[in-house]
Amino acid sequence: MAFKKITPEIRSGFSEQELLFNYRVSGDLELLGLLYEPYMSLIYGLCLKYLKDEAKSEDAVMQIFEQLIGKLRIHEVSHFKSWLYTLARNHCLMELRSADKHPHISIEETFVEFEHFEHPAITGDPLEEKLTIMEQCVQQLNADQQQCIRLFYLEEKCYKEVAEITGFDLNKVKSCIQNGKRNLKICMDKFGNGS
């Protein structure tokens, strides 16, 4: 990728990768601003989640930008959004650690239930196989997860509608869908590896 001198007129047409490359070469903060600005509202929300304080979150958004100034001149980043997410999350966790506050992470949010099952023999058409595996994996989920996953993914209901149909509260619906999705992925990977 060749370094291009960027004028304000052509700046808006640049892809994220081009902005990353040009920033790494030139160190021009305006380019970094263009990269960072679209994610600011998300980063601020993320900081609010972890730091639970508006002023601290605002400062954190700027501190994360300051970190980017140095890091993006050294590192070659291929997936900026996921890289930025990890950086921002780590920054917030470090902030909490330095303030000697330990984040409370609920078991419901992170706990992935793991269930053992027999592997069925798989033969025939790959798509048909995948659908068969998925159906079997869905059946391996517990009843609540199964119900939420079917309503959310197959019937395309939103959390609110799923909550109304099942009678669960919104947090439980969210948790069932997140854990159900995770369990499904683990199950599908297991079948995919043929283990």
Binding site: G33, E37, P38, S41, Y50, K81
Partner: protein, 127 residues
């Protein structure tokens, strides 16, 4: 409306239950595959507010920070240190020129003076 405001508005409408079920489902599916979006929604939900003014102030802070670099750059090019170095170099050059001029002038002055004639008579030495 820029990307940030649009996204923020969508999150706000979602949290206030103002989106259509289809749109809500779409945002939720997006959030399931995008942990940054999910965390942001969780954060705004916890804070019980989506403040557009706050975001504008943050954008202003970012702009000021970027403008700060430009000012630094300008200051770097025309800063007092550089001016001092340039002034010293100029003064040294001026002094060197004067010294050179003095040396040349002195030499020319010396050459311009009339040569004294000295008659020397040689007499044979007595044996």
């Amino acid at each position: 409306m820029d990307h940030n405001e649009h996204l923020l508005l969508k999150i706000q409408q979602y949290l206030q239950g103002q989106l259509q079920p289809g749109e809500m489902h779409q945002l939720e599916r997006e959030a399931l595959d995008d942990p940054m979006l999910q965390d942001a929604i969780d954060g705004y939900r916890q804070a019980k507010l989506v403040d557009h003014r706050q975001l504008s102030l943050l954008q202003q802070r970012l702009e000021n920070r970027i403008a700060g670099q430009l000012a630094e750059k300008t200051a770097f090019y025309f800063g007092w240190q550089r001016l001092a170095v340039a002034a010293t170099a100029g003064l040294l050059f001026f002094i060197a020129c004067i010294l050179l001029w003095m040396v040349i002038n002195h030499h020319q002055h010396k050459q311009a003076q009339p040569q004294k004639k000295v008659d020397v008579e040689l007499t044979p030495a007595p044996h």
